[in-house]
Subunit: 242 residues, 2 copies
Amino acid sequence: MTATDREMISRLPLFGALTEEYRHKLLATAILREVEAGDILFGQGNPPEYLHVLLKGAVELRGADRLGNEAIVEVVQPPDCFILAAVVTNAPLLMGARALEASRLLLIPADHLRQELHAEPALALALLGAMASHYRGMVRQIKDLKLRTSVERLGSFLVQLAREQQSSGQIQLPYPKRVLADRMGITPEHLSRAFARLRERGVHMRGSRVVIDDVETLAAYCRVDTVLDSVERELRVPGTGV
Amino acid sequence: MTATDREMISRLPLFGALTEEYRHKLLATAILREVEAGDILFGQGNPPEYLHVLLKGAVELRGADRLGNEAIVEVVQPPDCFILAAVVTNAPLLMGARALEASRLLLIPADHLRQELHAEPALALALLGAMASHYRGMVRQIKDLKLRTSVERLGSFLVQLAREQQSSGQIQLPYPKRVLADRMGITPEHLSRAFARLRERGVHMRGSRVVIDDVETLAAYCRVDTVLDSVERELRVPGTGV
């Protein structure tokens, strides 16, 4: 494990809430895995073998129906962990995972993690914080899907990117437009039309970059709420961690 | 607290995983609350004051945007708890709650629950199981919203009801059609059209009851998957509970 890996791991609320000594013990059985863009990490319906921690790259979590139609449920950005719910309860995976770009992952054996849950109360609290954060991400997405049109959904995604990248309106799309459309539950053609509609709201495409004339005007149009729409990477059970 | 309340509480995986002695201690500060249909339990954006446990009735969890447009994110059926993620992390509520019918609730003070989390490792594991189950419910809903048309979504909801009610095709809608439409993220008019479309798939309305000619044919049409679409009320961290 490199110094950068270690730095990434300590930035995860999940591990930041544990002592360095215990973290070392927990990760003793973990495996580092490097994958290429397009590589399948696991398929849905299987039992979870590892808690996946994304250190570098990007991974799409995909849901499929019985006929093989697929949709992106979520795109994971580092540092974050995924399939935590399936791992702690040993339930079949509801989603498959595929690398969107060359990625670096830390795999923690699921049975080892479940054993440690019983042995180390601080770990259970750390996982509870991570799970709460993932749950709330899903609630936000459902509100987004039910309350916003696809044009507003795209606009509010761009507003959040602009705020995260603190770039005063010049933003870089984190993944290809095909993925963005799929994550939003619409077709690529529909996404192009949504971008066209946002032009009159001061949103301009420049290749994979987007220029927003006025972020706050766009935020008001999409009804973005500072508290309720913001990403919560630091959510924790109070009284735990550093 | 009545004997029925106690029976309901013990059926919750959340409490079933705790000893009766500890459960008694945990619930010593809890408050019983009876509400009427339409009563607001709390609004979104506020700090969570109580973990809510629904013992009887039905509650809708509603998300609103800045202009006051609202959508139902989830309908809670007893016995289940809600706003667990906000309570354990003391984060602002992402949803408000309203009783759909006369309901009976147990309110556990949030600060008491968080204190107990640190004192009693079994409680953290029990909450972890409950949170995993709620998270997976949201993932299923997102897959449903992104992969199915509204007609298929309605059909698959009816299939699940038929299976839960074990009624060989004669089912009772658990809440009014307005609520059903709102939960599905469509208008009541759109819902009526979806019911009309399902008539050719052998689905017939009889007031608030629905008759399905052949549940398995409908399930195949809606691509319902036995493992991935089923409701998991009993999800737990292995090794906990009775």
